[in-house]
């Protein structure tokens, strides 16, 4: 399946993502999920970014929290709400919110 995961939290949900598998998997960081792309703990990027998936972060949400696109982990692509609509309709078949 082609699955888009909207990840909206920083401290919960990783246990679920770890197990998800899909032929095509997109992880879209929204809300407080953007800290997965923008924050480092002890100098290390978030382990979730090791997952085999395409990563996106919502511009409106990381900018709201004081980050700019150049602060994101290089594996993560910035998208806006319009892009997100296209991703959901064109690139994936199913969408979940964590």
């Amino acid at each position: 399946m082609k699955l888009a995961v909207l990840m909206s939290d920083y401290r919960t949900g990783s246990d679920i993502v770890d197990r998800l598998s899909a032929e095509k998997l997109g992880i879209i960081l929204v809300g407080n999920g953007v800290y997965h792309a923008a924050a480092k703990e002890g100098g290390k990027a978030c382990p979730i970014l090791e997952k085999k998936a395409d990563f996106y972060a919502l511009t409106e949400d990381f900018e709201s929290r004081g980050f700019t696109a150049d602060k994101l982990d290089s594996r993560v692509k910035a998208v806006n709400y319009g892009d997100l609509v296209d991703l959901i309709f064109n690139d994936y078949e199913k969408v979940i919110w964590l």
Partner: protein
């Protein structure tokens, strides 16, 4: 004439928020959805419990006695009474040391025939793949 398959996946703890309770009540409402659809069209809901979500189906929840609300146990029983497909992740039960005895496995006392299925995560993954839409909570 078509059937759309919805897979509800309960992954959060009960009670603190509304997430899992409302997932169960919405899944149950698949039984009355026909009034909105054309003849022969159907919406079919399954429910899978994964991760912390398995705590939703512990037996002997006393939320009615203490807080005056229906329990998630009661809702889980209703899903079985109404013949919804129920999957419970075996790996997560093992992790928490839970067994059939601890869980709502049937609605026999209410006259239901359906039993919940304890399955490996792979089966739940398959359920997700064959569903038309996924509803996590």
């Amino acid at each position: 004439m078509a059937t759309k398959k919805l897979a509800f996946v309960v992954r959060s703890l009960p009670y603190k928020t509304e997430a899992s309770r409302l997932a169960l009540t919405h899944a149950i409402s698949s039984q009355t959805v026909e009034i909105y659809l054309n003849d022969g069209d159907l919406v079919e809901a399954s429910i899978s419990y994964v991760g912390d979500g398995v705590f939703n189906i512990l037996k002997n929840q006393q939320a009615g006695k203490h807080y005056g609300i229906t329990t998630n146990e009661g809702h889980a029983k209703n899903t079985l009474l109404l013949d919804l497909k129920v999957l419970i992740c075996k790996e997560d039960l093992d992790k928490f040391g839970l067994t059939e005895e601890n869980l709502v496995m049937d609605a026999e006392d209410l006259g239901g025939d359906m039993r919940a299925n304890i399955v490996s995560y792979n089966e739940i993954q398959k359920e997700m793949e064959t569903a038309d839409h996924l509803l996590f909570c």
